[in-house]
């Protein structure tokens, strides 16, 4: 099938290495700080708390002491093929930019119907039930002018820190360059990750690290089989984690065994179980 984004020049995407991810949550905090995300007094109601980047805790479900926990950090997947949110938006408030692959959100167009929220299979969209945050605390003093604070009644989501792309482009033009280099534009979560678990780059550029990483047999995507073609990839050497990437029926999942990649032998469980 022809992909809708084949003719775009750039296709930004990320690979999150679950082996490196420590589950610390710095990406979530960095994202909220970068993008003026609202903070509320009670943030334990996860359906109403806004987290463009959110950690999902997963477990291998085995009994003590064979239990393992891990995390899926989940930004917007920036689906590349008919993003479900885009096709349902009645106000054209969200669209897939064919030139960058970024799924945008235009707050002033959003009428707050929350159809997109219902359509998103990843739960990556959030509705502003309240205004930015409690008044009179002086917390508006840390808001960045690069991202407009949202108002009550609109939906918001991860934008791959679009403002950073604009910034990188502006800098490149100022230096009389047409192209931005790999690493000049990365998202706030990529930059913040203290374990360097996130790699960000142009999936159309074979030289970029992300393009190499996505070919790896340990790399997978969430709910890959619904055909939304996400541009966020995950990478793990642990089989049980890869298996949780989709709703496999018994027998549907085939473990990765001894595949060659980049002239190196890989085995499926070099980590924990055989150690």
């Amino acid at each position: 099938m022809k992909k809708s984004n084949d003719h775009g020049k750039y296709k930004y995407g990320m690979v999150i290495d679950i082996d490196k991810c420590t589950g610390c949550g710095t990406c979530m905090v960095a994202c909220a700080a970068e993008n003026n995300v609202a903070v509320r007094a009670d943030q334990s109601d996860k359906e109403r708390t806004i987290t463009w980047m959110r950690l999902y805790k997963i477990s291998n479900g085995k009994e003590f002491p064979h239990t393992e926990v891990s995390y899926f950090p989940r930004p917007c997947m920036h689906c590349d093929h008919h993003p479900p949110c885009v096709s349902v938006c009645v106000a054209t408030a969200t669209k897939l930019d064919f030139n960058t692959g970024i799924v945008s959100q235009i707050y002033t167009r959003c009428i707050g119907c929350r159809y997109c929220q219902a359509a998103c299979p990843y739960g990556a969209r959030y509705f502003n039930w309240w205004d930015v945050f409690p008044q009179d605390k002086g917390m508006d003093r840390y808001l960045t002018p690069e991202v407009s604070p949202r108002m009550r009644g609109v939906v918001e989501k991860c934008t791959f820190c679009h403002q950073r792309l604009m910034g990188a482009k502006t800098l490149a033009y100022a230096e009389d360059r047409q192209e931005i280099e790999e690493g000049e534009y990365v998202t706030a979560c990529t930059e913040a990750c203290p374990a360097q678990a996130i790699t960000f780059g142009d999936l159309n550029n074979p030289e970029h690290e992300v393009s190499k990483l996505i070919k790896h047999p340990f790399t997978f995507r969430l709910l890959e089989r619904i055909g939304t073609d996400p541009k966020v990839y995950y990478h793990s050497s642990r089989d049980w984690i890869r298996k949780l990437g989709d709703n496999f029926l018994p027998g549907e999942y085939t473990p990765v065994v001894n595949k060659t990649w980049a002239e190196e032998e890989w085995s499926t469980k070099p980590g924990r179980d055989e150690f």
């Binding site: 589950g23 610390c24 710095t26 009994e63 002491p65 239990t67 393992e68 605390k137 002018p145």
Partner: protein, 823 residues
């Protein structure tokens, strides 16, 4: 026109067609969207000139480098610095959210204040700095005039060795009180252990990055141990490239499937508090198989073999002790870890090239057990991993200058002769610096508090001490409390007077040797923004306060301001020669191998060096290659001591006063005196009835929640899972099997009761929890601060029934007997 059927249909069709053609409805929808979004209260952040300020994070003793983005005078984001040696680019979530601690006004004291409401109610009225100084100084000089300066006490949470803590100690001495106490930290355990086994006073230096086998006994490597930016960076590095060819293996010893335990290559789960026994079991296998580093053991250690002392008495050595009492089968009974696993751990440890055994208890903000540390350090010695790349390094202490000697006046010298309230450093606790739990007990039990005036610096002992709420009750008895906290924390709310510090982003301050770092580093944080409110750097406050007290105390502080003191101390860095004040990410500090005095300095004069430190925020000496053995160990034997002569001496000294049996009992030791000099395992003495309290409660720490004296930035509550905190209830993680015994389902509301008290929590069924243990998260349950943090969950410290660690006397906070009762 008459309304006929025909006309009606024409009008309807015409209308529908017209609406399709006109843009009006679409325009109206669009406009409504815009109109309903133009609320005057939606902030429009002002723009201006963008800039970056490099500084150092001072929220924990880790001291990561931070770059703060600014727009004009506003700080808008904190990011990790790539040009800082500790953390090449990353910081922890607490550091990332730091701006909320600066700008959330309801968390902070906006100026000096006097309490007007009841204690703990948090009602204050603003006063001037002059009034505040007059009130404290009046109280203190009154006590000095009465000749009872020892009734002044200070709780200081600033990390050991920082300039502000040096000044606070100096103030206490000048005033004449020995009662300077600190909240416990893992660094206390490291300090005592290193003193006893190595005779060194240098902070613990684990060369993690160069290690190929990290055997962590309880250190929460991914829970915030050490400098989180450093450890997590190492974690990423360890997992770079092909996992089948991974160079470094990580083994986590911990009773719960924490992030570190789950993400490690191997997880071993002994019963809480038995880590030391497990280490000795591993030592047994290593010694029995003869695979220990015989060169290190014979040339550079003492106390391994049995021996005869000068008085002709035979003493058993470490080898005999371990071979007799810690076989895998014996250890399996204590720890619950199978003999097979113990053997495989030993095999992994000896077959690695540069293994290191790391000791810790979660983050570094609570103490560990001295004998456990000694057991783990014995493993490093057996493998020869001491003074070797990838193991435990023994650099020189950081060469900061001492402040000029302090001459105290008659009142002070009399006061200083009074015994410390906490008995630290006495024959009973010969190696301890400060025992805040004892301090609490003395005050709690007294009819009239021996402390009249308590000064609290950078600490919130009301909340952070694992003492079953003991410090709170002690505070209630103390007549006059002064807090220097920038935040409206629980302890500050009990105070009569607040002399608020500026936050770490508004002041100059130093970070001395981040916990666990393998090379000396002196960090300097600087004001990123001008102080927002009428606050003052506590360093300056101490100097000004000393002058307000009286001339004699004031003369101990002949400096203009805090910054001058920083420079006086930093003079030593310059005099010591070799040091760097800038960092190139291409040559990580742990990769550089420099001999002797360190690298060629990057500066020629002190001023040049100081300028470099101020702009870069660092002075450091990269990792040195293994050092000459000569004079390396400053123990009585001049060697690494498996069997500590200092402990032997201490027991003997004490036995000369009272009987040996009584001495050992008072020191909390249940074994013979030979064994007491070495790492060994003793079951904690809880003295509680296990039929009444069948379970154990273990507090646990998370990297995404601040559990120390710093409040959590509200952003962090986004990262907390709904099975850790839901509305106002936090969760106890327990194993489904344990829960089944009490017929408890996920989310059930229960009371966890210990002899010290009870807390109400919900149940989280967690396979990763050891059966029989109730795990409660630390960091929830604040009764102070604002609506973001207040009344969310419970603080497990409130029900901790802490025993005393043998010899050190530090609290054993990991062994509270509890029961669960359904609410």
């Amino acid at each position: 026109m008459k309304l006929t059927r025909r006309n009606f249909i024409a009008a309807v069709i015409g209308g529908v067609a017209g609406i399709q053609a006109t843009p009006l409805p679409w325009k109206i929808t669009d406009d409504i969207a815009i109109w309903t979004q133009n609320w005057p209260w939606v902030p429009v952040p002002s723009t201006g000139e963008f800039s970056d300020v490099s500084s150092v994070c001072n929220l924990c003793p880790g001291g990561c480098g931070i770059a703060v983005k600014k727009v004009d005078e506003r700080a808008i984001k904190i990011e990790g610095r790539t040009d800082y040696p500790v953390n090449p680019g990353g910081v922890c979530p607490v550091g990332m959210g730091g701006l909320q601690l600066l700008y959330d006004e309801s968390l902070r004291f906006t100026g000096p204040m006097k309490r007007v409401g009841l204690r703990g109610a948090g009602q204050f009225t603003e006063i001037s700095w002059g009034e505040a100084f007059d009130m404290v100084a009046g109280r203190i000089s009154g006590l000095r005039k009465k000749g009872t300066p020892e009734a002044i006490a200070a709780v200081d949470g600033n990390p050991e060795g920082t300039t502000v803590s040096v000044l606070i100690k100096r103030l206490m001495r000048a005033m004449g009180s020995p009662n300077y106490v600190r909240p416990p930290s893992i660094n206390d355990t490291y300090r005592m252990g290193n003193l006893l086994m190595q005779g060194t006073l240098t902070p613990m230096a684990y060369d993690l990055e160069n290690s190929d086998y990290v055997l962590s006994f309880g250190a929460g490597l991914l829970e915030g141990w050490g400098a989180p930016g450093r450890v997590m960076n190492a974690w990423g590095m360890w997992h770079d490239g092909n996992p089948a060819k991974k160079k470094t293996r990580i083994v986590q010893v911990e009773s719960r499937a924490s992030n570190t335990a789950s993400k490690a290559d191997m997880w071993v789960a002994p019963r809480p508090g038995t880590d030391g026994a497990l280490a000795l079991g591993i030592a047994h296998v290593i010694i029995k198989s003869g695979q220990y580093d015989s060169r290190f053991v014979s040339d550079h250690s003492s106390g391994f073999e049995d021996g005869r002392s000068l008085d002709g008495v035979n003493h058993i050595g470490f080898k005999t002790l371990v071979l007799e009492k810690y076989s895998p089968e014996q250890v399996a009974k204590i720890t619950g870890v199978s003999p097979k696993t113990i053997v495989s751990l030993a095999k992994g440890f000896v077959s690695a090239k540069t293994p290191v055994a790391v000791y810790g208890k979660g983050k570094d903000s609570l103490n560990g057990s001295l004998y456990e540390f000694m057991a783990v350090q014995s493993l490093n010695a057996l493998k020869g991993s001491i003074n070797r790349s990838g193991g435990v390094l023994l650099p020189d202490p950081i060469p900061l200058s001492n402040l000029p000697l302090l001459e105290v006046d008659a009142v002070a010298s009399k006061g200083l002769k009074t015994p410390r309230l906490d008995q630290a450093g006495t024959m009973r606790y010969p190696f301890s610096d400060s025992l805040i739990n004892n301090f609490t007990e003395v005050i709690k039990k007294s009819s009239k508090s021996p402390v009249d005036t308590l000064l609290v610096f950078s600490a919130n002992p009301f909340f952070t001490l694992p003492d079953g709420g003991g410090f709170k009750r002690a505070l209630e008895k103390i007549p006059f409390i002064v807090s220097f906290s920038p935040y409206r924390d629980e302890t500050a709310n009990m105070a009569e007077l607040i002399l608020p510090d500026s936050t770490y982003l508004e002041k100059v301050d130093d970070i001395v040797w981040p916990t666990g770092l393998q090379y000396p580093l002196y960090g300097l944080s600087k004001p990123v923004v001008e102080p927002l409110y009428n606050t003052k750097n506590s360093g300056d406050t101490v100097i000004e306060l000393s002058r307000a007290i009286d001339e004699s105390v004031g003369s101990a502080f002949p400096w203009e301001n805090f910054e001058e003191v920083l420079q006086v101390r930093a003079k030593g860095l310059f005099d010591a020669g070799g040091g760097l004040v800038s960092y190139d990410p291409d040559t990580p500090a742990w990769q550089r191998q420099t001999a002797g005095n360190g690298p060629k300095p990057e500066y020629e004069s002190f001023d040049e060096m100081w300028e470099g430190i101020q702009s870069g925020g660092m002075w450091y000496r990269p990792v040195s290659s293994p050092r000459s053995w000569k004079g390396l160990f400053n123990t009585p034997s001049g060697k690494f001591e498996f069997s500590s002569k200092l402990i032997a001496q201490a027991i003997e000294n004490y036995s000369n006063k009272i009987s040996k049996k009584a001495a050992l009992k008072n020191m909390g030791i249940a074994v013979t005196d030979d064994e007491a000099c070495m790492a060994h395992y003793e079951a904690p003495k809880t003295g509680s009835d296990s039929s009444v309290y069948p379970l154990r409660m273990l507090p646990y720490e998370m990297i995404n929640l601040a559990s120390g004296w710093i409040p959590s930035p509200p952003f962090l509550y986004k990262t907390i899972f709904e099975n850790q905190l839901l509305k106002d209830k936090s969760f106890a993680a327990i194993n489904p099997k344990t829960a089944a015994r009490y017929n408890l389902k996920e989310g059930a509301l229960v009371a966890v009761k210990s002899p010290a008290g009870e807390v109400q929590v919900r149940i989280n069924l967690s396979e990763g929890a050891m059966p029989g243990i109730v795990y409660l998260p630390l960091g929830f349950g604040h009764t102070a601060y604002d609506e973001f943090l207040k009344d969310k969950g419970v603080n497990p410290n409130n029900i901790v029934q802490a025993g005393q660690d043998p010899i050190s006397g530090y609290p054993v906070w990991w062994d509270t007997p509890v029961k669960i009762v359904r609410v």
